[in-house]
Amino acid sequence: MKKTIYLAVFLGVMSAIFGGAIAFVNDLTAPLIAQQAMAAESAVFNELDPEATFSELDISEDQTGLIKKGYYGESSSNKYWIYSANVIGFNSGTPIDFLIGFNQDGDIILYNVINQQETDGIGSRVSTDEFEVVNLNVNDAITPLSGATVSSNAVISGINAAKTLYSNQAGVSVDTTVSEPEKPSLNLGDKVLINDDYTEFDAICEESDSTDEGNLVFKCNALGYGLIDPDNHSADMNFEYTKNEITIVVNPDDKSVVSITLDNFGDTANIGDKATTEEYFETFSGLIYDDEADTVTGASWTSKSIVSMVQAALAASE
């Protein structure tokens, strides 16, 4: 009995001594390891304020699940609350991964998209200065990008989640009602007949093999403003114009449009893309060959390009 106690005590003492050694090394190395985990973000932080030191914040209060990590930074003159968010934009496969940071006055001092795979020229604009986020105050509403509402609204919802955390953690009150994203209204112009003459748009539709609950799926492309009238546009001369491409789903029973999704926008950014928004495409639902379709003011060429493809798809469904 005595022997057993001696053995147990010996083992216990050994474990305690070596456990202590490990604890010592742990204290030595844990901060270095934490530094590495922050490596990607620390490059951004350093650019923001080289004098501030950053540490991790607990973000378990976040109910939305959009915030992945939080950081608190402090320098002699400023304090920062920075959040890393993951939101799903238009591309459901890859989330938009961005950093949003506030200072002690509630100003947004950091907005940096680390990774996104949104559609080039449309959703990808959330990474550009066009998407006004930085220098706004936490109580200002953020305007979604027209023509890229899905992507920008996704980012805005991530920013709102960060704002909620920020108001709790920094003790700054945030007027959350102001932060609701506004949906830009669709500016519809004249109506046109779907069965009109659109030969100059050279719309081609191919029936694709993929089915959509018994509906017909067409992959279509057509010329747009940039390719039909190449000498008469005043837009960015560096912009490469390509064909507009959409996927049209047609109901074979009543030969009506079920849905339209954008595959490629080839016209002028900020002008023609008003006619490639989800809201505009929704106006085509249920239309048949003899119906009238809407066009978007200020984007009539692209609208007609879309209509020309709808005509081709509906004609092919006959």
Binding site: S15, F18, G19, I22, A23
Partner: protein, 191 residues
């Protein structure tokens, strides 16, 4: 439910612990010469891993995490495993002396079997919940046992073949392992 099934399938076939992850080679080479000892070893390993994993998992989440001493996990786990193997050995010695004799030195060697420690560590790093942990802890040694049995049957046949002098014993066993690994790599796209 289907995720649990894919977890099981992945652990047994696709990420087979011996052929893909290279763990458990020592007993693999040592015990696989005869089919019955291979079988006994396989069952003992399953028993030890399931038992030791549950205990390690419990200790980690109920003691180490609340006390903030997660860095002690390596010591804790390996001590748990050693103790569990000791108990298993005493248990087998008492209730099945024949099995005890056939396993011989290999039973205490399960302690140093990389598979046991790796499964205990994986359960933590993969952040499994309890059910997933039990399934994984069963699937991995099941995959180990399956390969062990396949291997033993091949080796029993090898005994009667003509092998170059230098390759006799373990080297030819490793060549067989290479071919088996090649065969198993076909499972890569399964789930």
């Amino acid at each position: 439910m289907s995720e649990l099934f894919s977890l099981f399938l992945a652990a047994v076939l696709i990420n087979n612990i011996v052929l893909t992850k290279f763990l458990g080679i020592c007993p693999f080479l040592g015990v696989s010469k005869k089919l019955d000892s291979a079988f006994g070893m396989g069952v003992s390993v399953i028993f030890v891993i399931v038992g030791a994993s549950i205990m390690s998992y419990g200790l980690y989440y109920l003691v180490l995490v609340p006390l903030g001493i997660e860095y002690m996990k390596l010591i804790t786990f390996i001590l748990v495993i050693a103790t569990f193997v000791q108990f298993t050995e005493m248990f087998i010695k008492k209730y099945s002396p024949a099995l005890y004799k056939s396993l011989g030195i290999y039973l205490p060697l399960i302690t140093t079997n990389c598979v046991v420690l790796q499964v205990a560590l994986d359960n933590i790093s993969n952040e499994f919940n309890f059910i997933e942990m039990v399934i994984y802890s069963f699937a991995v040694p099941a995959g180990f046992m399956m390969v062990l049995l396949l291997f033993a049957t091949i080796r029993e046949r090898l005994e009667t073949s003509e092998i170059p002098e230098a390759f006799k014993g373990n080297p030819i066993a490793l060549v067989v392992a290479a071919i088996m690994a090649l065969a198993f790599s076909a499972f890569a796209g399964l789930v």
